[in-house]
Amino acid sequence: MASYILRRLFGLVPVLFGVTVLVFSIMHLSPGDPAKIILGPKATEASIAKLNTQLGLDQPLHTQYITWIGNVFQGDWGRSIQMKMEVLPLVAERFTATFILTLASIIIASVFGIGAGIISAYKKYSWLDRSMMFMVLIGFCLPVFWLGLLLQIVFGLNLDWLPISGMYSAGQDGFWDMIRHLILPAIALSAGAGAIIARMTRSSMVEVFSQDYIRTARSKGLKEKNVVLIHALKNAFIPVLTVIGMQIGFLLAGAVLVEMVFAWPGIGTLMVNGILARDFPLVQGVILFVATTYVAINLLIDILYAIFDPRISYK
């Protein structure tokens, strides 16, 4: 197992390397000049040139890349052009918020998605199944920003049950305070992922229900509950896990919209503003962070496979 993990970690190197090259090229090759954006329309050419030199943007691209990647290795991720702060601590802190949000939504999405999927599969072709899958389609179609606003207005403003936006109440930082703030954005973000997980769970469970070992389990006189939740679910969970892994990636990146709507202090706004302001070090840092997390999570999921499926051995 350890050697498997080691090997996978090796495998991550080219992927992350590719990600850095890609983000670097995209950022630097797209039109738009950070100096012009920072200095605004009022800037003179001389001051733009001066700023470009100060930011090192007058160097040839490959030199800039090598300098950047070299510094990253030494733990210096540079300073945000727009935010003027050091990238690493800034991104790390904001990313934590995104991560909490993503985690909460994937938990919500998984719990509801898997639950709905199991019931649908068990009651295949019944009205319950059909209406459940109809709901799932609605969930899939709800644009997050729209759902988010709706939740705010209903549960935040009109019913006053939950906070409307932000991660903490003004001037506070308590854990439960954060959890209360987390609920609405997490729900808004989880709708789409929940729908996809539900569909996957359903089809995977349907498949498993037709397997011989389910018949065996029933022939032993087990209770249906055990047949479904232990024998069937444990097998059906493996493809579902893959989907969950992919969704985590999607949520991590897609949290942007929800974060904007809920003023959640994640990397979302940071990233969008960064891109729009051509804040190279910041965007590169954010992407590197997100990509690393994504590949790490997928590694984790591959390891989880081994727990759910003993046939996969990473020897």
């Binding site: 050697s3 080691l6 090997r7 090796f10 020897k315």
Partner: protein
């Protein structure tokens, strides 16, 4: 009888990978140094338990899998030296019938399409001629030509196997490697297919390499029989010699294990201990020594060579 094809010291090792960098750390010796000759018009039966390398042997002979070592000589050419493209003309003469009548037909193609596929691949004849040829062959294998517009799932296992046979016959091959063509079939259907194969052999002077795990089936159809164990040939002899007097202890055990549909005959059964060892690390010496009742000291150390102990009767055992 003329020699049609020679297999010389054929080996196929599948690499087993492990370690941090997925280096190859060992091999599954699926086929390990097997030699035999096929004569024109004969049928050589090949038996052995699951996983002993029968399919691998069949596939390497046809170069569907590149052998690790050894030669397959056909028409004075070593087929292993040929490239994918150079091999194409030979494929017309060397055909294969597969074990699984369900998986070996593309379920999304009509029968007509499946059966004329070989002609299309080799760009032989016009569309009309293809149709005619197809009808002729379908008739030969006992299928109504009205079937041509249907999909494989509309057929029973026996019928599908006939479709597979029809496909193999389309190019007028000389040699057919039949990889367990009847294992998936019911006895009554199996009998139909076996009869068909026999009839076709007579009519077209076909040569068969007939792979099976059922000794009775092999006995029925073959003129010579080879018994494989863990990638090696344990015994190779003309049918009658082998069934009358099996020499290898494994062949003996195998024969005694076959249930006989006659409750009046009570035979002394040799029940082998234990399972077939893994081909990834086969026992040293004679691969069968772990289950053999006549095992001697030498068996554990030295690998027995295939020797001709009686005329045309080869066996790989230290007892002889």
């Amino acid at each position: 009888m003329a020699e049609l094809l020679q297999v010389r010291n054929l080996k196929k090792y599948y690499p087993v990978k492990s370690g941090v960098l997925q280096r190859t750390t060992g091999y599954v010796k699926a086929v390990d140094d097997v030699s035999f000759t096929l004569h024109e018009g004969e049928s050589l039966g090949l038996v052995g338990e699951s996983g002993c390398g029968k399919s691998t042997l069949g596939r390497t002979v046809l170069q569907l899998i590149k052998p690790t070592a050894g030669e397959v000589v056909y028409d004075d050419k070593n087929l292993s030296d040929l490239s994918f493209r150079e091999m194409k003309p030979y494929r017309k003469e060397l055909q294969m019938i597969f074990q699984d009548p369900y998986a070996s037909l593309n379920s999304r193609k009509k029968i007509s399409n499946i059966v004329t596929e070989p002609l299309r691949i080799h760009k032989i004849s016009t569309i009309k001629e293809r149709e005619e040829k197809m009808e002729e062959i379908l008739e030969k294998v006992g299928l109504n030509r009205a079937f041509a517009d249907r999909y494989p799932h509309e057929f029973s296992g026996g019928q599908r196997q006939r479709i597979g046979i029809a496909r193999a016959l389309m190019l007028n091959p000389k040699l057919i490697i039949a990889d367990e063509p009847v294992s998936a079939l019911d006895v009554s259907i199996q009998a139909q297919v076996l009869n068909l194969l026999q009839d076709l052999q007579e009519e077209f002077n076909l040569t068969y390499l007939f792979i099976a795990h059922d000794l009775s089936v092999v006995k029925h159809i073959s003129t010579r029989v080879g018994v494989m164990y863990l990638g090696r040939m344990a015994e190779l002899a003309p049918k009658n010699a082998l069934y009358k007097e099996p020499l290898h202890p494994y062949t003996q055990a195998l024969m005694s294990a076959v249930p006989v549909p006659n409750p009046l005959i009570k035979r002394e059964r040799i029940i082998l201990k234990g399972d077939v060892p893994s081909p990834q690390n086969p026992p040293s010496g004679c691969a069968f020594h772990t289950r053999c009742s006549a095992c001697m000291a030498i068996c554990k150390e030295q690998r027995p060579e295939l020797k001709e102990v009686q005329k045309d009767h080869f066996v790989a055992c230290h007892l002889y």
